[in-house]
Each structure stands twice: as C-alpha cells, then as structure tokens.
Symmetry: C2
Subunit: 140 residues, 2 copies
C-alpha cells in the first residue's frame, strides 16, 4: 500500500474507461493486447530471454525468435503495435535495408504485465495439465 506510485493512483482515479462495458474503447484495446503474438513480441523486445533488458531487434531477429510466426502475422502485429504507440519502427537505408523495432515508453509500461502472463503460463503449465487430465477423466 505504500508502494502505490503516482502513476497508479492516476490510473485508479480516472474511471472514465471500463472494459466490462462492451462499448468502451478500452474493451477493444484489451482485445488487442490480449493476443499471443503481441505478448511474445513485447517480451522479445523487453529482452525477457536475455538479461531482461529492453533492446531493439530487427525484423528477421524477431521472426527467428517467435517460433511458428508467419510473416503476415508478424508484420501485422508490429504495425498495430506501432500504430498504438507501443513500439517504434526505425529504418536504416543500408543495402539491403535494415529495420529495427524497439519499445516506446508506453510499450515499456506494458512490459511487466505481458511478461507476467508469459511467465505464468510457463510456470503453471504442469498444474493446468494436471487439472485437465483430472477433468477429462471425470467425464469418461
């Protein structure tokens, strides 16, 4: 309780947005942010797998990092993140061209949240797997 920051208090104070309401803009934002690829891209740019320090990554580095992502989904995800002001896109006019992505301040503010999500999934995988087998067994 002594750990509440000024930013957090501002958040609590302005109750203009409520994601429980279908019409609220924050509902769409929640939907956007609640995305597998968004989470993984942000985690990669946050350096969650390398010292947990924000870093910039090139397109191809991201593609390699996120197993199974298609070019379309990666580009699409990066575009929406850029549009929403969560990442920056920097083009260096080398030959061939070099494009790197990095978190903005806004992106950094979401960093810990998505990391928690990823960490939670990895940490509680066993519990969930156990829960599923129990559930499935009760039906048979």
């Amino acid at each position: 309780m002594a750990t509440t920051t000024a930013a957090q208090q501002r958040q609590t104070a302005k109750a203009e947005y409520d994601a429980f309401l279908a019409a609220c803009p924050s509902r769409q934002l929640l939907d956007r942010v609640s995305d597998k690829w968004v989470t993984l891209v942000l985690c990669a740019l946050a350096g969650d797998d390398d010292g947990h320090e924000p870093r910039s990554l090139r397109y191809s580095e991201l593609a390699r990092r996120l197993g199974g992502v298609s070019q379309k989904m990666l580009t699409q995800t990066l575009r929406s993140l850029e549009r929403d002001g969560l990442v920056t896109r920097t083009v260096v006019a080398t030959v061939p061209v070099t494009v790197s992505y990095a978190l903005t301040d806004l992106g950094v503010s979401l960093r810990l949240v998505v990391r928690s999500l990823k960490v939670w999934a990895e940490a509680h995988m066993d519990d969930v797997l156990a829960g599923r087998s129990t559930y499935d067994a009760r039906l048979a």
Copy 2:
C-alpha cells in the same frame, strides 16, 4: 532485484517450458489465457469492481457483468477455465437450478496478472488513442 520472491525464482529456475517455441505446451496455454473473455471473467470473479475480493458469481450474474458476451462464448470460456483448473463450477439443485463459479487457487494466482492487463488498457487508453491519431495523420 532485491524484490524477487521465492515463487519468482522457482519460476525462473524451471525453464522446461518456453512460450517462444511453437511446439511448447505453454504456447497454447498463453494463447488461451490471452483472451478478452478469459480476462474479463477472471476479473469479475476476482471482484475487481467490488472491493477487489474474490467472490463466487452465478452464470447470469457473469452474463450481466460482461457486456456484449454471448451465451456461447461465456459457456465456452467457463468450460475451458474449469477444465484448466482455474475456476470451480458448483451446481445447487434448487428449482430452477443454480450454478455458481469461483476462482480456484490456480485462478487466484492469475488474478493479479489479468487485472493488470485490464487496468493497463483502461489507464492508457488515452495514450493509445493519441498515438493512433498521430500515426494515421502521418499517412494522410
């Protein structure tokens, strides 16, 4: 760095699962958890709009709480959450029947994470909106 808890260290220690890998089970779990309705259901059961205390809610109460949710999606979401061991489903044989849902311990462990997500979306809506108009303006 002095703020790492024992639980966090355990999580970091067991690197058996890695959501960056396409084949890893935690990838599917991340995909499941990264869902608008999952987030909102957990937030509702966590009592985020009423003193932030976990509580049990009936099906109809959840339906009313989550604006715009269809019966299909609500039922589907609740089933998967039950199967994964995140919520409990309790049937009371009244007439008509009463069904209530509540968080399990595992569900409680995810509570703060999804709340953060919802709170973030509501708190930074203005920033994102501003970022979008800037982005869109630069194209025109």
